[in-house]
C-alpha cells in the first residue's frame, strides 16, 4: 500500500509539524465541532459526572435560516495540543471551536486565578476559538445567587446590540482575525457588564469577559445541558456564517490555504499560474466541504468533496487530494453508517435521569459579552430571525439524549436503535426535500444538486479503496505522517463497522510502517489503540502482541519515566490473546496456546508486578507460571523458577485468596499442585482396634460370599460413587489419610502446615510439616478429627511450600493421576476406646496391651490338668462410658473344649457396666488345661506289655465271642470312636468358624503325650455413647496357650474288690514331665513318680449302680451328643459305666519342683464287656456255698479227691423287674494257666444233680436256689464256672425299663450271661 515514492516530496521536519496524533479519532469526528472541556482551579468533586453530562449533549438540532433542521454534532475533548489546531485549515474539524471550563474556587484569590486560567486558555486557542463558557463552583451553598432581573437581561440585549453594531464594520475581516479581534476588543464592555451581576462576595477580575455561570459546589446544576446546548448553538452559527462566507468567495480571488508544513514549499512559486489557481480553488472547495459537513449539510459536503477531489487531482496536489478523498469517504461513511455517531450517547441515557427531577430555578449569569455569533447575527439578516428564536427553540429541539426529553427517551430505550435509524432516514429525506434552498445564495461555488448526492455516495468497497488511496497520498509527505496514521485508524474503524476484518487489519498493519518521530508515550498509545482495534476485529493474538509491545515500551530504557503499573495492566490484558486464562485450573486442564510465548509473557508479568511494588501479585503470577507451565518447563527451569518464587514469596507470602486489583480485576488464586507432586491420596480406615463394627451383622443373603450375577436388578449399571468410602470414621477419633508425595525439584523441599481440606461436617485437621528429599516418593499421613456426625467430604489438602500457601483440590489435580473429586466418608457418633491389660495369677505374667495393636499376644503354658486364673483389665481411655461389653473367644478348638479351657462369667462382666471414662473393669477368666489323659492308639510310647498280666482277664474263660473282647480290641474300638469324633468335631468346628480358616488343623482331644499349641483370640466387643445401638468396637487379644503333657494313663483294667460293691480300677500312670510328681489317686493315697516313669495304681471305687446312673446317662446323652453316634445299647451302657468312673475317680498330681498342682481324669475311658460286668453292680446277686459254706472271693477251697461237695448256688434278682428264661449253669474246668482250659472232665468229676437249671421267671427281689453235688475223682486244680444266662434281651435293660410292655422273647440265642466272678477255684488233693 505504501507508495514507493514515499518521502520523495517529503521535507525535513518543519517547525510546526503536528506531532500529537489523536488516536481516538473516528471518521464521524470530521463532522463534529470540537469543544475543549477543562477543569481548572481546585479539584471538582463531581467533575467526572459533569463531564459525562456535557458529553451527552453531543448532538443538537438547529433550524437554520431557511427553516431546515440541521443536525449538529459536537466532539468534546479534555485536552487538545495547540499544534494540532494549526492544521485547522487542512481539516476544519481539527479546529478547537469552543471552550468550557469547570472550575472551583473557595475565595476571591482563587476566583481570580480561575478567571486568569480561563482567559489564558482562550488566548492559547485564540486562532480558532469562537465561544466559551465558564462554569464556576463557589464554596458551598453560601454563594448568593444574584437576582435574575428580566430588565437586566433586556438591558444586556440592548447593550449587546449596541456593541455589535459598533463592531459590525469588522465583519469583512477574515474569520480568524475577526475571532481574535473580537475577543480582544470586547474586553471593555464585558468587564463593565460583569461587575453589575457579580454577587457581593466575589468579583471576577476586570479582564474576565466570559459567559460565566456560578453555582454552589454541591448544586445539581440542572441547566448545564441547556447552557452547553446554547454554546453549541452559538458555535454552529459561527461555523454556518463561515461556510456561507467561504461559499460566496470568488474563486479567482481565493487565497491559498496551507497545511502548516507547506509554508516554505510555496516560497518563490508563481502564485498566479493557472496551476496554482486551480490548486487554490481545489483547496478552498475542500475547505468549504469540511465546513459544510460540520454545519450539518452532509449531502452537500459529499458533492463538494468530490469536486474538490477532481480539481486537486488535476494539479497533483497529493496532500490535499488525500484530504479530499478522506473527506469523501468519511461523509459517505457518516451517511451509510449513521449509528457510528449515535451509538455512544444513546447508551448513556439511563444515568441522566437522576439530574432531571431537580427542577431548581435556572440560574444564568448571563454575560453575553463577546460571543462572536452575535456579530454575525447582526450582519446576516436571514440568520437574525433564526437566532432570536434559537434560545427558545434549542432546548426543545435537543435530541432524545438531552435533558428535555429524558422521560421519553428512557422509556424508549429499547427501541433506540430503531429510532436512530428512522431519525437518520428522516433527516435524509429532509435534506432531499429542501435541497435547493442554498442554491440561489451560492452561485459562485460549483455545486451539484443534492438529489444526486447518491451519485457521489461511496459504497463500502469504494470507501475502503478511496481511503487506501488517501493514505497513499498522505504517505508521500513525511510531515503528514500523523494525518496518515489517523486516517488509517479511521479507515480501520470504518472497516470494523463494515465487518471486514481483513481490510481493517491491513489498515492497521499500515500504521506500523508510518515512520513517526513520536514520544514514547505516544508510541505506547499507538500500540494501545492498535491493540484495541485488533481486539475489536477479533485478532486477539495481534492485539496481545501490540499490548505486549506497548507494555515493553512503557518500561523500555528509552522511556524517561517508566510506568510499571501500566505495563503490568497491558500485559495482563494481553492474556486472552495468548490464550492464558487467569484461572490456573482452567489453564492446567485446557493446555492451549503457545507455551514458549506464555512462559515469556508470564515472566515479564512477574517482573512488572514486582517492579510495580506489588509483591503479592508477583508471587501469585510466579506461582501461576510454575503451576500452569509445569509440563513445558525443563528441570533446570523448574529449579530456577522455584528459587525465584521462594525469593518473591519472601517479600510477600502467597495465599489461596483471590487478589483484587485497583481496576477491579480479580486474580484468582494459584495453587501449586506440582510441588510437591501427589502420587497417591487415599483416606484410611480406622486401625482394626478402633474400627467400628455393626453390633448386629446383616444376615447373609445366601451361601455364596461373592457372586458376579445380579439377577433382575439394574444396580450393575449404576456405577458406584467413586469417592464413597465403605468404611466409617468415628467422631472425636483421629482419622488418617495416606498420601504419597514426590518432590520434583532437585533440592530438599520443606512443606509445612499440610492439612486436609474438607467440607461437610466439622473436621479438625492436624498440621503436618515434612521435608521431602528430591525425587523419592515419600508417604505422608495426614491426620484429623471429625467433630460432628454426618458425611465428611475430603476435597484435598493444603500445603505451604516455597513460601506459597496452596489449596490442592483433588478435582484440580493434574491429569496423570486420576482422583475422584472428593472422598466421602460417613462419620458416626463417638465410641469409647479401651486399653487392655492381662494378668496371669500364677505365673504373674503381665501383658500390657496397646490398644492400637490388634493382637497383643499373651503366651501361657499350662500342664494338662492344670488350671490358672487370667484377669483382663479393661481401662476406658475415652470420654464415653462403655455401656455394652461382650466377650467372645475364637480358637482352633472346638466349642466344647474351648468352653472347658476358658471359663468366665458373663454376669460378672455385665455387672461392671457401665464403665465410666478412666474407670477400670476386671474380667477374670479361668484357664484349664483340658486334656484326655488316656493314651490311646498307635502313639504308645510305652510298650503294651502290662496288658496281659491282669488276673481277671487272664483267668476269665471265653464262653462266647462277644464277651471275650480282648483289651486290644477294646482299644481299637475306642480309638475308632475317638477318630470318628475327631472327624465330626472338625466338621462342626469348620462350620461355626468359617471365617477363620487359617488354622492349620482343628484341634480336638489329642493324645496327651505331646504338647499342644492353642491359638486363641479373645474378642472384646464394646460400645457406648450415642451410637451404641448401631456400632461397637472390637478389640482382639491374642492368647497362645501351650498345653504341656503332665500325666497319661496308658493302660487300665478293673478288678473286683473284696467287697462285692467295690472294685479296683487299675491304672498305669506315666509321668510325662521331667520332674518328680506326687500323684494322689485316692484320698490320702499318694505315690511318687519320677520324671518319665510310669507306675500302676489301683483306685478303689464303688461299683456302678445301674438304675441311678441310667437316668444320669440320659442327661449326659442329651448333653453330649457324641455318645449318640455310638448309638448301640452296649455303648450306652459302657458310657454309663465310663461316666461313673470318670465321676468318681479323682486324680491329683503335684509337681514337686515347680509346685504346680493339677488334676487328671479318666474321661473317655472305654470298657470291654467283661470289665463292665465288674464295674457294674451285678443285677443278680450270687450266693455260692460249698458244703454250706459261703465262698469268699479270691478264696481257695481245698478238698480231697473223692470227697463229696455240696455246691449251692442262690441267685437273687436285684433288678426292679422280673427276669425270664434264666438258665443257670454250673461248669467245671481246669485252667492250665497257659490259656488253655480243659472243659472235658468226664472222668475226673462226677456231679449229681443238674448242672443246668432253667428258671422261667425270677421275679424282682426273689431268690432262686439250686443245689448239686460234685465229686472230684482225681486231684488237681479245678475251677467252677457258675453262670446265669438269659435269652431275653436283657441288653436293652435301660430301654426295657422305659417300655415294659414291649417285652418280647426274641430268638433262642443267649443274649446275656452273668458270671460269678471270680470263678470258684478248688484244689483237690489226694
Amino acid at each position: 500500500m505504501r507508495s514507493s515514492v514515499s518521502y520523495i516530496l517529503s521535507h525535513a521536519p518543519g517547525e510546526s509539524v503536528m506531532s500529537h496524533p489523536d488516536y481516538a479519532q473516528h471518521a464521524q469526528h470530521h463532522a463534529c465541532l470540537l469543544v475543549l472541556v477543562k477543569g481548572i482551579g481546585g479539584v471538582l468533586k463531581n467533575f467526572n459526572k459533569l463531564w459525562e453530562r456535557i458529553q451527552r449533549v453531543n448532538n443538537i438540532k438547529v433550524t437554520d435560516s431557511s427553516g431546515q433542521v440541521r443536525d449538529i454534532w459536537v466532539r468534546y475533548v479534555r485536552d487538545y495540543p495547540v499544534e494540532n489546531n494549526d492544521w485547522g485549515d487542512f481539516q476544519t474539524h481539527r479546529r478547537l471551536l469552543g471552550l468550557i471550563t469547570l472550575s472551583k474556587f473557595a475565595n476571591q484569590i482563587e476566583l481570580n486565578e480561575v478567571c486568569r486560567v480561563h482567559e489564558s486558555l482562550k488566548v492559547k486557542y485564540s486562532n480558532t476559538l469562537y465561544d466559551s463558557r465558564a462554569f464556576m463552583f463557589g464554596p458551598g451553598s453560601n454563594l448568593k445567587k444574584p437576582e435574575q432581573e428580566p430588565e437586566t437581561y433586556s438591558f444586556y440585549e440592548d447593550d449587546k446590540t449596541k456593541e455589535k453594531t459598533s463592531l459590525s464594520d469588522r465583519i469583512s475581516l477574515p474569520s480568524e482575525a475577526a475571532d481574535s479581534l473580537s475577543s480582544c476588543d470586547s474586553i471593555g464592555q464585558s468587564s463593565s457588564s460583569t461587575y453589575s451581576v457579580q454577587e457581593e462576595n466575589f468579583t471576577t477580575p476586570s479582564n474576565f469577559k466570559t459567559h460565566a455561570l456560578f453555582y454552589g459546589e454541591n448544586d445539581p446544576v440542572p441547566d448545564l445541558e441547556q447552557h452547553v446546548a446554547e454554546l453549541i448553538n452559538s458555535l454552529f452559527w459561527v461555523v454556518e456564517s463561515k461556510r456561507l462566507e467561504r461559499s460566496r468567495e470568488k474563486l479567482e480571488k481565493v487565497s491559498l490555504l496551507l497545511a502548516p508544513f507547506e509554508k516554505r514549499d510555496f516560497v518563490g512559486l508563481d502564485m498566479e499560474s493557472r496551476n496554482n489557481k486551480k490548486r487554490c480553488m481545489g483547496r478552498v472547495t475542500k475547505n468549504l466541504a469540511d465546513l459544510t459537513l460540520q454545519a450539518g449539510l452532509v449531502p452537500e459536503a459529499l458533492s463538494l468533496y468530490n469536486s474538490a477531489g477532481e480539481i486537486l487531482k488535476s494539479v497533483n496536489d497529493w496532500l490535499w487530494l488525500g484530504a479530499a478523498k478522506e473527506g469523501h469517504c468519511v461523509t459517505s461513511a457518516i451517511i451509510q453508517y449513521p449509528h457510528l455517531r449515535n451509538s455512544t450517547p444513546l447508551q448513556r441515557n439511563a444515568s441522566l435521569q437522576e439530574s432531571s427531577p431537580n427542577k431548581t430555578k435556572p440560574l444564568s449569569l448571563y454575560q453575553p459579552s463577546s460571543e462572536p455569533y452575535r456579530k454575525f447575527k447582526l450582519n446576516f439578516s436571514p440568520l437574525k430571525t433564526s437566532k432570536t428564536s434559537s434560545p427558545i427553540n434549542a432546548p426543545n429541539e435537543l435530541t432524545p439524549s438531552s435533558s428535555e426529553s429524558i422521560e421519553t427517551s428512557s422509556r424508549q430505550s429499547e427501541t433506540d436503535n430503531a429510532d436512530t435509524e428512522s431519525l437518520a432516514s428522516s433527516t435524509d429525506i429532509e435534506y432531499q426535500s429542501q435541497k435547493s434552498y442554498l442554491s440561489p445564495d451560492l452561485p459562485s461555488i460549483p455545486r451539484q444538486p443534492t438529489s444526486i448526492h447518491t451519485m457521489y455516495l461511496l459504497s463500502g468497497e469504494e470507501i475502503a479503496e478511496k481511503y487506501r488511496k488517501a493514505t497513499i497520498h498522505y504517505s508521500k509527505y513525511q510531515n503528514a505522517g500523523i494525518i496518515e496514521t489517523e486516517a488509517c485508524f479511521k479507515a480501520a474503524r470504518i472497516a470494523v463497522e463494515q465487518n471486514n476484518t481483513l481490510r481493517a487489519s491491513s489498515f492497521l498493519q499500515n500504521v506500523i510502517f508510518i515512520n513517526l518521530t513520536l514520544s514514547e508515550q505516544e508510541k505506547i498509545q499507538r500500540f494501545d489503540t492498535l491493540a484495541e482495534l485488533y481486539k475489536e476485529i477479533g485478532f486477539l493474538r495481534k492485539a496481545a502482541f501490540c499490548q505486549r509491545l506497548a507494555a515493553t515500551r512503557q518500561v523500555s530504557a528509552n522511556n524517561p519515566n517508566p510506568d510499571w503499573p501500566r505495563c503490568y495492566h497491558l500485559m495482563l490484558h494481553s492474556f486472552p490473546g495468548h490464550k492464558i486464562s487467569l484461572d490456573p485450573n482452567y489453564a492446567v486442564q485446557h493446555q492451549v496456546g503457545w507455551p514458549a510465548l506464555q512462559i515469556q509473557l508470564l515472566h515479564e508479568l512477574v517482573v512488572a508486578a514486582r517492579r510495580m511494588g506489588h509483591p503479592a501479585l508477583a508471587t501469585r503470577h510466579m506461582t501461576f507460571l510454575l503451576q500452569t507451565m509445569w509440563p513445558h518447563l525443563s528441570r533446570q527451569e523448574h529449579r530456577d523458577l522455584a528459587i525465584q518464587l521462594q525469593a518473591l514469596s519472601a517479600q510477600c507470602e502467597g495465599g489461596p485468596v483471590p487478589l483484587v486489583l485497583e481496576t477491579g480485576e480479580v486474580i484468582p488464586p494459584a495453587n501449586l499442585t506440582h510441588v510437591p507432586t501427589c502420587l497417591y491420596f487415599n483416606p484410611r480406615p480406622l486401625p482394626p482396634a478402633r474400627t467400628p463394627h455393626l453390633i448386629k451383622s446383616k444376615s447373609n443373603q445366601g451361601p455364596f460370599i461373592f457372586t458376579p450375577i445380579h439377577f433382575g436388578s439394574l444396580e450393575r449399571k449404576t456405577k458406584k460413587d467413586e469417592g464413597k468410602m465403605e468404611y466409617l470414621w468415628v467422631e472425636d477419633d483421629i482419622c488418617e489419610v495416606q498420601m504419597k508425595l514426590t518432590n520434583p525439584l532437585p533440592f530438599e523441599l520443606k512443606v509445612s502446615n499440610m492439612r486436609l481440606l474438607t467440607s461437610g461436617v466439622v473436621f479438625e485437621s492436624i498440621p503436618e510439616t515434612i521435608i521431602l528429599p528430591p525425587d523419592s516418593p515419600t508417604t505422608v499421613n495426614l491426620h484429623g478429627t471429625p467433630k460432628e456426625v454426618g458425611e465428611l467430604l475430603i476435597l484435598g489438602y493444603s500445603t505451604h511450600t516455597l513460601g506459597v500457601k496452596s489449596n490442592c483440590r483433588l478435582k484440580n489435580m493434574p491429569m496423570p493421576h486420576k482422583f475422584p473429586s472428593a472422598f466421602s466418608i460417613e462419620v458416626i457418633p463417638s465410641l469409647p476406646k479401651i486399653s487392655i491389660e492381662t494378668t496371669l495369677t500364677l505365673s504373674g505374667n503381665v501383658n500390657l496391651s496397646n490398644p492400637e495393636i490388634s493382637a497383643s499376644v499373651t503366651n501361657i503354658s499350662l500342664y494338662n490338668g492344670e488350671s490358672t486364673e487370667c484377669t483382663i483389665k479393661i481401662t476406658n481411655t475415652s470420654n464415653v462410658a462403655i455401656e455394652y461389653l461382650e466377650l467372645l473367644i475364637q480358637s482352633n478348638m472346638d466349642n466344647q473344649l474351648q468352653r472347658k479351657v476358658f471359663q468366665w462369667s458373663n454376669e460378672e462382666i455385665q455387672s461392671q457396666l457401665p464403665i465410666k471414662p478412666n474407670d477400670v473393669a476386671l474380667i477374670p477368666i479361668t484357664l484349664y488345661g483340658e486334656a484326655d489323659f488316656l493314651d490311646l492308639g498307635g502313639e504308645n510310647i510305652f510298650p503294651n506289655s502290662l496288658t496281659s498280666n491282669y488276673p481277671s482277664r487272664v483267668g476269665s474263660p471265653v464262653p462266647n465271642a462277644q464277651t471275650s473282647l480282648p483289651t486290644q480290641s477294646s482299644n481299637q474300638q475306642n480309638s475308632l470312636s475317638s477318630g470318628l469324633m475327631v472327624n465330626r468335631t472338625s466338621g462342626s468346628f469348620r462350620s461355626s468358624n468359617s471365617q477363620t480358616t487359617s488354622w492349620s488343623a482343628p484341634l480336638s482331644i489329642m493324645p496327651p503325650s505331646r504338647g499342644r499349641q492353642i491359638e486363641t483370640q479373645i474378642i472384646l466387643r464394646y460400645s457406648g455413647g450415642a451410637g451404641k445401638d448401631m456400632h461397637c468396637r472390637q478389640s482382639t487379644l491374642q492368647m497362645n496357650l501351650e498345653l504341656l503333657p503332665s500325666v497319661s494313663i496308658t493302660h487300665w483294667d478293673v478288678l473286683p474288690a473284696e467287697i462285692p460293691s467295690q472294685l479296683y480300677l487299675v491304672l498305669d500312670i506315666t509321668n510325662l514331665t521331667n520332674e518328680e510328681m506326687d500323684f494322689e489317686y485316692a484320698p490320702s493315697k499318694h505315690i511318687l513318680i519320677e520324671g518319665k516313669e510310669s507306675c500302676r495304681v489301683p483306685v478303689p471305687l464303688d461299683r456302678c449302680p445301674f438304675t441311678s446312673t441310667a437316668v444320669k446317662i440320659e442327661d449326659a446323652d442329651s448333653m453330649e451328643p457324641k455318645s449318640i453316634s455310638t448309638g448301640t445299647s452296649i455303648n450306652s451302657l459302657e458310657v454309663m459305666c465310663s461316666e461313673h468312673l470318670t465321676k468318681n475317680v479323682d486324680l491329683k498330681w503335684h509337681l514337686l519342683q515347680s509346685n504346680i498342682n493339677g488334676r487328671a481324669s479318666v474321661k473317655g475311658i472305654t470298657l470291654s464287656q467283661s470289665m463292665m460286668d465288674i464295674v457294674r453292680m451285678s443285677p443278680l446277686n450270687w450266693e455260692v456255698s460249698l458244703n454250706k459254706q459261703y465262698i469268699k472271693p479270691q478264696e481257695e477251697y481245698n478238698c480231697t479227691a473223692g470227697e463229696c461237695l455240696f455246691l449251692g448256688v442262690a441267685v437273687s434278682n436285684h433288678l426292679k423287674r422280673p427276669l425270664h428264661k434264666l438258665c443257670l449253669s454250673v461248669q467245671f474246668y481246669q485252667d492250665y494257666n497257659n490259656g488253655v482250659r480243659n472243659y472235658k472232665l468226664d472222668n475226673r468229676v462226677a456231679t449229681a444233680g443238674n448242672n443246668k437249671v432253667v428258671l422261667t421267671t425270677l421275679s424282682e427281689s426273689a431268690k432262686a436256689y439250686h443245689e448239686c453235688t460234685v465229686v472230684f475223682l482225681t486231684p488237681g486244680e479245678y475251677k467252677i464256672d457258675i453262670q446265669c444266662s438269659t435269652t431275653e434281651p436283657i441288653l436293652d435293660e435301660v430301654s426295657v425299663a422305659k417300655d415294659l410292655p414291649s417285652v418280647q422273647s426274641c430268638a433262642e440265642e443267649i443274649s446275656h450271661t452273668w458270671r460269678f466272678i471270680p470263678p470258684v477255684a478248688i484244689s483237690v488233693t489226694d
Binding site: 476484518t501 481483513l502 487489519s505 498493519q509 506500523i512 510502517f513 485488533y534 476485529i537 477479533g538 485478532f539 486477539l540 493474538r541 495481534k542 496481545a544 502482541f545 495468548h578 492451549v592 496456546g593 503457545w594 514458549a596 510465548l597 515469556q600
Partner: protein, 155 residues
C-alpha cells in the same frame, strides 16, 4: 531468505518451529514464535472468509473444487514477511522471510508457494512415521534437517 518455518496443528498448537539464524539464542527463537503466533489471527480470518465464500459458492459450484492451499502473504512487518499455507486437514504451515536481507526482500510469490508445497510434502513424510502421534510435536531429526536445507537452498 527464509528465516523461519513453522508447522501449526489444527488446534493452533505449535508442532514444529524451525529456523535458521545467525544465533540460535532463545531470544531469536522467541521472536520467531511471536511472529508466527501473531500471524495466526490473519491466517484464521483468511480461512474463515474463504470458507464462507466457498460455502456460498458451493451452491452452484461443484464441491470437488479445491480451495487453494496457499494463502499468500499474511502480513508483513518492517523486517519480516509472513506467508501462510493450510493443508486440507487444517495443518497450518507458516513461512517467514526477512525483508531486510537482499535475498528476502524481493522474493517472488511463486517461490514461496513452491517452498511451502515442498514443506507440505516433507510434513506428510514425517507424519507417515507410524510411531508419530498426530497432534504431537514433530521431533524427527530428519524432518528438521530437511526443513533446514529447504530454508537454506530454496530461498
Amino acid at each position: 531468505m527464509a528465516v523461519c518455518v513453522a508447522v501449526i496443528g489444527k488446534d493452533n498448537s505449535p508442532l514444529y518451529i524451525g529456523g535458521t539464524g545467525n544465533d540460535t539464542s532463545t531470544d531469536n527463537e522467541l521472536s520467531r514464535q511471536w511472529l508466527v503466533h501473531t500471524a495466526l489471527d490473519a491466517l484464521e480470518e483468511r480461512l474463515a472468509s474463504t470458507n464462507n465464500t466457498n460455502l456460498n459458492s458451493s451452491a452452484n459450484a461443484s464441491r470437488t473444487e479445491l480451495r487453494d492451499l496457499y494463502l499468500g502473504l499474511l502480513y508483513s512487518t518492517d523486517t519480516h514477511k509472513i506467508y501462510g499455507y493450510v493443508t486440507n486437514t487444517r495443518i497450518k504451515l507458516v513461512l517467514v522471510t526477512s525483508s531486510t536481507s537482499p535475498s528476502g526482500s524481493n522474493i517472488r510469490d511463486a517461490e514461496v508457494r513452491t517452498a511451502l508445497r515442498r514443506l507440505h510434502a516433507l510434513y506428510a513424510d514425517a507424519i507417515c512415521n507410524p510411531f508419530h502421534l498426530p497432534g504431537d510435536q514433530i521431533t524427527s531429526t530428519k524432518f528438521d534437517k530437511q526443513v533446514k536445507s529447504l530454508i537454506m537452498n530454496n530461498v
